[in-house]
Structures are given as structure tokens and as C-alpha cells.
């Protein structure tokens, strides 16, 4: 699977997938059905998995975190790509991806950004690949991991938080310099 093909597929995600709805009413997106379909399609198991499909109560709990729920919708769309079939992806991997990885990253990125920003689109794709232990075509494991790390919002957030105190000090100096300059300019007794 090529990353660019997945990016292209993800960007074609229908806008319905960004609906915040868990009901099964007419015209509404049925999250439970989506997840069930994806689990069955990817694992190739269409008969069992009853215990693996999230219940209505589970979905209702999920719906309290809107960005996570929408990210799951997008993941369902992404994973529906034919390249994910026959890859021996386990239910454990899918559940970890859906309920842990996406839950964490949704704290940092709004759902619409996954489709709008170039780097976020690629990050979402690579997160799915990493969670399902798939190495994209044309890359080694190390290259794929490095690329994902370079795009990771969580990692970037950690770096920015660590360096924040240094930046705050710098901005304080900057502000002092600006204020000093303004005071010098305003001094009515300064001469040429």
C-alpha cells in the first residue's frame, strides 16, 4: 500500500462521516454498524465477533467525546480501503487503534483537521498503518517510523511543552526590548 493512495482515499471521505450521531435514525450515521462492518471486513470474519462489536451503551459513552467519535468514523472510512483486507489485522489491533490511539490523538487534533491539513492527513494514515503493523510500500520500517514521528502531533506537543519555558523567557526579553525601544522613542527630551 502506498501512503499517497491512502491519503487520496482519506481525502475523499464523505462529509457524512463527520456527523456527530450515534443513532440509527433515517439519514443518520450508525457508528455501531460502521465499526461492526469494518471489524468484520478487515478480519474476514463475518459470523462471530459478537462480543467485540461495541454495544449501544459503549457508543453512547464514546459520543461524549465528540472528536474521538468523529475520528473513529474517519478511521472506519480509511480502513475500508481494499488494501487493508487480507493483512491479518487482529481485532486486538483494531480495538487498540480505535479506542486508545484515536482517543489520545483526538485530544490534540480536531476531526476536521484530519482532512484539511496536509500533515494531519498523512499523520492519520500513518497512525492507522502503524497501529495495524503495516509498512507502506517503498519504505523501510525505520523510515516509516521516523516519518510518523516527524508528523506526530503528540510528539510535537511534548516538544513544544518542554521548550515552552525557554520560549517564555525569550518572549519576556523580547517584550522588554520592545518596551525599552518605545520608552526611548517617547522620551520628549531626547535629542538628535
Amino acid at each position: 500500500m502506498k501512503v499517497y493512495d491512502l491519503i487520496d482515499h482519506l481525502k475523499k471521505c464523505p462529509p457524512d462521516f463527520l456527523q456527530n450521531s450515534v443513532g440509527q435514525g433515517r439519514g443518520k450515521l450508525a457508528t455501531q454498524a460502521l465499526i461492526a462492518d469494518i471489524f468484520r471486513k478487515v478480519t474476514g470474519n463475518y459470523t462471530t465477533l459478537a462480543g467485540e462489536i461495541p454495544s449501544t451503551q459503549d457508543i453512547t459513552k464514546l459520543s461524549k467525546k465528540k472528536e474521538h467519535l468523529l475520528a473513529i468514523h474517519l478511521a472506519c472510512w480509511l480502513i475500508s480501503y481494499k488494501g487493508f483486507e487480507g493483512r491479518n489485522i487482529s481485532i486486538r489491533q483494531l480495538k487498540h487503534y480505535f479506542y486508545k490511539e484515536l482517543a489520545t490523538v483526538s485530544e490534540y487534533v480536531r476531526a476536521n483537521k484530519w482532512l484539511e491539513e496536509e500533515d494531519r492527513v498523512e499523520e492519520f494514515v500513518r497512525l492507522a498503518l502503524q497501529s495495524t503493523s503495516i509498512i507502506p510500500d517503498g519504505e523501510t520500517a525505520a523510515e516509516a517510523a521516523d516519518r510518523f514521528a516527524a508528523l506526530s502531533t503528540i510528539k510535537r506537543h511534548g516538544v513544544l511543552v518542554k521548550s515552552k519555558s525557554a520560549y517564555d523567557r525569550m518572549m519576556k526579553i523580547r517584550k522588554q526590548m520592545a518596551e525599552k525601544k518605545a520608552r526611548e522613542a517617547a522620551n520628549p527630551y531626547s535629542r538628535e
Binding site: 490534540y108 516527524a150 510535537r156 506537543h157 515552552k164 523580547r174 520592545a178 518605545a182 520628549p188
Partner: protein, 587 residues
């Protein structure tokens, strides 16, 4: 092949590439072929100061240093490099005004380090252009940087720059950011934010300038880091001096509110924004603490004049500072120009010849028109057949309306601010009155005086805007008041053409009238009375003072015919300048 032959070959190839480079952007671009400099010393004369190419927005030219191209082994990349330079003319900065505006926005963020701003602006423009050429126009810009990396001395800044391109173009780590000793998660984080910024602001690039400057700020803050950064990017700085020799760029006196709103640190924005909408408070917290209430002038909308001058001088180091000061106050004054008061005047039109009539013996001999007389009769008999010319005025109106001239005297003593460093309301008021008068066709005599000490005045009543503004916007800072002696020279005799007198001062003028601390005190009261009489127009003294101070002196002035206006703060001088015509002169 000799070096010279190879350079000639590069020249031939690049001339061929020129048309294709233009077509990369559009089939309709009309730009002159670049100035090809075969030697670096010729390129220096043309304005290049280290880079292998440059643009000039003044004459829409591109200058190429072919010798340096040869040394850097960039001869195979003519299409890309020329397309890049064209991008500066077509895309960013594209024109002198946008160039100035971008620099101004970057300077807001780089407060205290404004000297770095042209380099930051250049790098920002390069990122925008190169990204468009690589991703949209499908030119191979990667190879150019790979070639440059062979010679470039890496620095943190250059590492950030290369890593940004790796993010923009989805390149494997190490494709361009080759020096691993500079690799760090901080640079990765910053590069990813810059890449996102470049993509987001590709269309409205002016709005991203402040953010970009905030990203680069930590890399340029220390002098050593800045010096190393310059060494790395020196060959690429093709637009730093794009606005040189452009003259004064209009429209930059007002505070750029959009620019200030965009002065945001994307790092802080990313930390605060992730996963939620920002409130107004949070947006304010992200901006870099620029004091929006620090504006000058009417409605506090204008830059400090010193800041304005610094910006213009950074754009064009050769510009005359006095022109900038004149332009600053002119631009601030322009929205407030008033309809100048006019008075009836007898016309002084030219006379033209209408015909001839008989010359009588009692008329002056020099009035005889000998030619007409000889034509009339070859036998000339004085008083009988001698003729003289008749002249009549070409204007048959009995009277016409014309504005009176005006004398503007401004107190420039020690308590007054230097109008170059601090906004000066008295100078603004004087500029409004002076420019209004000139616009109406009147002449103006300006006088700055701070006495005992010095003074500066125009050479009489002048029609030259430059001369008048140059005097009014100068600075003396001497003495304690406007020197009444200054009224002696222009109003020694009654004027042929009437004039108003406007004096702007504070209540130290009364001490001057009473002759305090003067080496040779003269009768200033008589002088000021005579001046008003000889001027023939209205006399107004605008005082930054209180009405109930010096009541006797005030009464004495009023009895002479002087009118006094009081302002309690300098901003009211603007109101006075507008009221000057309306209250006293409008029919």
C-alpha cells in the same frame, strides 16, 4: 573549456531558459530579460551583495551573477532559478508597497532586532515561491538545494530551513537536512509548524509574515546565531534590497492593525489550540504583547514618526531623511486639509495690445509706435499723424477671490518635542494649515523659533511644499519661546499682498513679549502690533495654556486685534486647525 567559455555557455543556456521560466508562471508575463553579469565585480556594481541573483522592484529587473553561478555549479538550474526570481516579481513581494508592508509586519515581531527583518522577509518569500514551483509548477527545486548543500556551512537556521522543505515536499529525513549534528526534535517541531504556515498562507502571504517571524525569532536572537545564519543563506538573499532607491513609499504612516493581529507565535497557538476553539482572551494571550493603544496622532492611528522613518530607511537606505519626515506629517495631515479662506482681491492680469490711437504732443515721446506711424504715413509729422499703441487688461473682472498668504510661526523651544522622534501636534496643525493654504494657491512663510537661541524660516513667502514642510518639521529645542523678533523681517513694511499670521506657542510667549532674559530687549509689544497691521489679514495666537492666565497681556493683544485660541492639550490643535477657516472666514 576555460572558465570564461563555461560562463558564456551558461549565459546562452539561461537566455534560452528565460522564456520557459516566464511561461512557468504565465504566458502573459512581460518582464525584461535579466541583467547578465559575467563577473562578480560587475554584479556588485549592479547591486548584488553576496547572492547569485537579485531583484529590483524599482525597475522590475533581475540581476544574475553568472560567475557565482559557475562557482556554485548551478548552471544546470537556469529554469528553476529564473522562475524563482520571476516569482518575486509576480507572486511575492511583487510590488514596493507589499514589500514594505511585509517588512513592517515582520518588524513588529522582531522588536529590538529589526535589522534581521529583511533577511526574514526574504526567506519567507523564498519558501512561498519554492513551494509553489516544486509542488504546483513541478520544477525540481530539490536538486538546487542538494547542490547548494555541498558548499553551505550548516547552522541551526539552515537546518531548520532544509527540514522545512523536507516537511513541505514530504522528503525523507536527510534528503536536504543532511548535517545530523543539528538535528533535534525542536527543529522538527518548528519545521512542521513553518511548513503548515507556508501552505496555509500561500494565497494571503502577507497575513503569515508575522507568524513566520515569530517562528524564526529564537534562531536569530543571539548575535552569534544570526551571524552564522547569514553565512548559510547569504547566497540566497535575492530580495533583501528589492526596494532600494524606490523613494518614499506612501501609505505606511498608519498602524497596520491586521499586521498586529497576525503577530502570533504559532508554537503557542498550537499548544493552546489543539483540540478546541480559542476564546478571544486566548487569542489575545497568544499575540506578542504589542501595545495597540500606543498609536500616535489623530485617533491614535499612526506610527511613531521614528518607527516610520526606520522602516522607510530599512527599505531604502539611500533615502533622504528629511523627505521622510515631510511625507509623514503630510500623510497624517492630508485627511484633515481644510478649505482655505479666500478674500476679494483686485485682479492683476496681463495687458494686451488692442490697437493704435493718435499720439499727441503732450504724450511721452517713448509712447510713439514708430512702425505703425510709418505704415500709416511715410511723412511723419509729430502730433498730426504719429500713433501710439493702446493696451487693455485681459481680465475684465472687477475683482476675484484668492486666498491670502499665511505666516505660520511655531514655538520650537526646549519644552517642545522633536517631531522626528515623537509625534508633534503643533507641527501637525501647522502642516494642515500650510498645506491647505498651498493647495488653495496661497503662499506660506514658515518659521520655527526657540529663543533666545535659534530659528529656522523659509525664504519669504513660498509656494514650495517641500520648503515649507522642511522648515515646519525641523527641530531646534532652544530658548523658551517663539521669538517675536522673527516678525520684524517679513512685516517691516506693509505687505503688497495681505497675509494672515498664525502663531503656535504656550504662555511663555508673554515672557517673550515682556522681553525676559533677552540680551537686547526690544519693544516686542510694538513689534507684534506693527506686524499685524502690516500683514493686513487676521492674526491668531494659539496657546497651549489656560484662559485665565496673564489676563492683562491677553487683553492688550486683543485690543491690537489679535485673536487668541486656547488648547488644554495638544490634540486640540487639530480641532483648531479645522476651525480656523470655518469659524472666522467662511462666508
Amino acid at each position: 573549456m576555460s572558465k570564461h567559455t563555461k560562463i558564456k555557455a551558461i549565459h546562452q543556456q539561461w537566455r534560452t531558459d528565460w522564456t520557459a521560466a516566464k511561461k512557468t508562471w504565465s504566458n502573459y508575463i512581460k518582464l525584461r530579460e535579466p541583467l547578465w553579469c559575467f563577473l562578480t565585480k560587475d554584479a556588485r556594481l549592479a547591486g548584488l551583495t553576496g547572492s547569485f541573483a537579485m531583484i529590483r522592484l524599482t525597475d522590475h529587473r533581475i540581476v544574475i551573477d553568472l560567475e557565482q553561478i559557475y562557482h556554485l555549479e548551478l548552471g544546470d538550474y537556469g529554469l528553476q532559478i529564473l522562475a524563482h526570481e520571476i516569482g518575486h516579481h509576480i507572486y511575492t513581494p511583487a510590488n514596493l508597497y507589499d514589500n514594505a508592508l511585509l517588512l513592517s509586519r515582520i518588524r513588529w515581531v522582531m522588536a529590538g532586532m529589526e535589522d534581521r527583518a529583511p533577511m526574514v522577509a526574504n526567506i519567507y518569500e523564498d519558501l512561498l515561491i519554492n513551494d509553489r514551483l516544486q509542488r504546483t509548477k513541478e520544477l525540481d527545486m530539490i536538486s538546487i538545494f542538494q547542490q547548494l548543500n555541498k558548499e553551505t556551512t550548516f547552522s541551526k537556521f539552515w537546518m531548520l530551513y532544509m527540514r522545512t522543505y523536507e516537511y513541505l515536499w514530504r522528503l525523507k529525513r536527510g534528503t536536504l537536512a543532511i548535517d545530523k549534528k543539528f538535528a533535534s526534535p525542536v527543529i522538527d517541531a518548528d519545521a512542521s509548524l513553518i511548513a503548515s504556515l507556508i501552505r496555509s498562507y500561500a494565497k494571503n502571504w502577507l497575513d503569515g509574515g508575522g507568524r513566520f517571524a515569530a517562528m524564526l525569532y529564537p534562531y536569530l536572537m543571539e548575535e552569534e546565531d544570526y551571524d552564522k545564519s547569514r553565512v548559510s543563506v547569504r547566497v540566497l538573499l535575492d530580495a533583501e534590497a528589492a526596494g532600494k532607491d524606490a523613494g518614499v513609499i506612501s501609505g505606511l504612516t498608519q498602524i497596520d492593525l491586521d499586521g498586529i493581529a497576525g503577530a502570533i507565535d504559532p508554537r503557542t497557538e498550537a499548544l493552546q489550540q489543539e483540540g478546541k476553539d480559542l476564546t478571544g482572551q486566548e487569542v489575545m494571550a497568544i499575540t506578542l504583547g504589542i501595545n495597540l493603544a500606543g498609536g500616535n496622532g489623530p485617533e491614535q492611528r499612526y506610527l511613531n514618526p521614528g518607527v516610520y522613518i526606520d522602516l522607510q530607511q530599512q527599505l531604502n537606505p539611500n533615502i533622504d531623511k528629511q523627505k521622510l519626515v515631510n511625507n509623514y506629517y503630510k500623510e497624517v495631515a492630508l485627511p484633515h486639509l481644510i478649505e482655505f479662506p479666500v478674500e476679494d482681491k483686485k485682479p492683476t492680469g496681463l495687458t494686451s495690445m488692442e490697437g493704435t490711437e493718435e499720439w499727441n504732443v503732450s504724450d511721452p515721446v517713448e509712447q510713439i509706435d514708430w512702425l505703425e506711424t510709418a505704415i500709416y504715413s511715410p511723412q511723419i509729422i509729430p502730433g498730426y499723424n504719429t500713433l501710439r499703441r493702446i493696451y487693455t487688461p485681459d481680465n475684465d473682472g472687477e475683482k476675484e477671490q484668492a486666498p491670502l498668504d499665511i505666516y505660520i510661526g511655531v514655538d520650537c523651544s526646549g519644552s517642545m518635542r522633536n517631531p522626528v522622534r515623537n509625534f508633534s501636534w503643533p507641527i501637525l496643525a501647522a502642516s494642515i494649515i500650510g498645506l491647505s493654504a498651498l493647495r488653495a494657491g496661497a503662499k506660506v512663510m514658515g518659521c520655527l523659533s526657540g529663543e533666545p537661541g535659534s530659528y529656522l524660516e523659509t525664504k519669504g513667502f513660498s509656494s514650495s511644499e517641500e520648503e515649507v514642510l522642511t522648515v515646519l518639521t525641523s527641530y531646534l529645542g532652544t530658548g523658551y519661546a517663539f521669538g517675536i523678533n522673527r516678525l520684524k523681517k517679513p512685516f517691516e513694511q506693509p505687505l503688497e499682498t495681505k497675509a494672515h499670521i498664525v502663531l503656535v506657542s504656550d504662555d511663555d510667549i508673554f515672557a517673550m513679549l515682556n522681553g525676559r532674559n533677552l540680551r537686547e530687549p526690544s519693544d516686542h509689544w510694538a513689534l507684534i502690533k506693527t506686524a499685524l497691521e502690516h500683514a493686513g489679514g487676521e492674526g491668531i495666537i494659539v496657546l497651549h495654556s489656560k484662559e485665565d492666565w496673564h489676563p492683562e497681556e491677553v487683553q492688550r493683544l486683543r485690543e491690537m486685534g489679535w485673536q487668541l485660541f486656547y488648547v488644554t492639550n495638544e490634540a486640540e490643535l487639530l480641532t483648531f486647525a479645522a476651525a480656523f477657516a470655518k469659524e472666522k472666514y467662511k462666508q
